[in-house]
Symmetry: C2
Subunit: 221 residues, 2 copies
DNA sequence: GCGGGCTGTCGGGAAAACCCCGACGCCTTA
DNA sequence: TAAGGCGTCGGGGTTTTCCCGACAGCCCGC
């Protein structure tokens, strides 16, 4: 079997160089390209049609998560391995849902990275060992009782809209204003939502929102 | 002249491996040790007495900036080169004030890193080119006014401690509790800090904090 | 088809938090 | 020594939250 052809997309040039040296030292692996940002990454992927794409989750401009769909369209047959600093189950879940083939922490050992590349190249799904438990919980739900889902998605639209804004520090009156509601109504959504999430203080709400990256996007209506 | 002996302190194993490969490929450079956190880094430095220490600024637990003094005591003759993702002049200034010999961004090219290592080994001070202007302003300040500083670093310690916690959604009473103060005092810090930052609402404070990534680390005391 | 749960919407009233103002002692710096 | 920054607190009025209750749709199952 031919070498596994790899494309690296990461904004840190030093890390890219390190990865290239590391991977090229393996007889079965070959780095065929590097990109420093998401846009060039997708272009290069389209041109090179690599077998595996190493994609950094956090990059200036468009992050890796947002790039995933475009990357899959550019190289439909490629396996995409997310490279990240975040050992966060929220990121993991979103990455896998978006079609990533694996998830490796930057703090992992180099041997683990090589293992991961080979695994996804074989068509397997690779997830950093410390996160495997989360993976199982996220993968099984179709068969097992599905209600153990993310409590966040169990909220109503209004509740989500209000909670993200409150987590961002907006006051009930402000939220009421942008949503065109009474402050009292907003209060009800906040209370119900926090109740459903089992959160008692605003600080807990903020932590919850941070952990899910809810504060990076524009809040939903 | 003998090889320059290098110690790498960074929590990302992959990056360490990459740096080692990169640097060991140079005939005049030799990586003599690696550490994944600050404490082991200082111990190793004491034992190995390297010529140059590559020190990551952001690490779990004790960060590189806080480690600098201990590192200098451990290896007084060594030159310490800060390695970081942050192209932030505040970090740069603090690093140089604390006695770092150089400051390189992780997004820099590998050739630049090698240049930087050789420069500091020769006794020079190396700063990433994009930050040189800032460096000059920081070094010259006695002559020229350097008021364009990051407003965040212009705050007092108490103000920073309080503001990050408030941005995390904690109430004044809660913050007062963990800091061992009166809620009124906490209120004063919050007000003064927000005044200095030109922020009027908590939401603006949260956005400010998010933009600076202040909500990812443990708040300072 | 009817009770019941979920959602969307609001209000009252007490409690808590916040905001503005002022104050005092301790330092450092000019 | 005067000035200004910092750390510390309180008073008092205003705002916001918090806890309770309310009511009208809607859909769902029995």
């Amino acid at each position: 079997m031919a070498e596994t052809r790899i494309l690296i997309v990461d904004d840190h040039a030093i890390l890219r160089a390190g990865l290239r040296l590391l991977l090229d030292a393996q007889p079965d692996l070959a780095v065929v390209g590097e990109a420093g940002d998401a846009l060039h990454g997708v272009d290069l992927a389209r041109a090179l049609q690599p077998d595996v794409v190493l994609l950094d989750i956090t990059m200036p401009g468009q992050g890796g998560l947002d790039t995933l769909p475009a990357m899959r369209r550019a190289v439909p047959h490629a396996r995409i391995l997310m490279l990240t600093m975040h050992d966060d189950e929220g990121y993991l879940r979103r990455a896998l849902q978006a079609g990533a083939a694996g998830y490796v922490l930057k703090k992992a050992a180099d041997s683990e990275l090589i293992t991961a590349v080979r695994a996804v190249a074989r068509g397997e799904v690779y997830v950093h060992s410390a996160l495997t438990r989360e993976l199982l919980r996220a993968i099984l739900p179709d068969a097992a009782p599905a209600p153990a889902t993310d409590p966040w998605s169990a909220l109503s639209d209004r509740e989500r809209a209000v909670l993200t804004r409150v987590a961002l520090g907006h006051t009930a009156a402000e939220v009421a204003d942008v949503l065109g509601l009474s402050a009292k109504t907003v209060e009800t959504y906040r209370a119900r939502g926090m109740e459903k999430l089992g959160l008692r203080t605003r600080a807990a709400l903020v932590r919850f929102a941070l952990a899910r990256g809810l504060l990076n996007d524009t809040p939903p209506d």
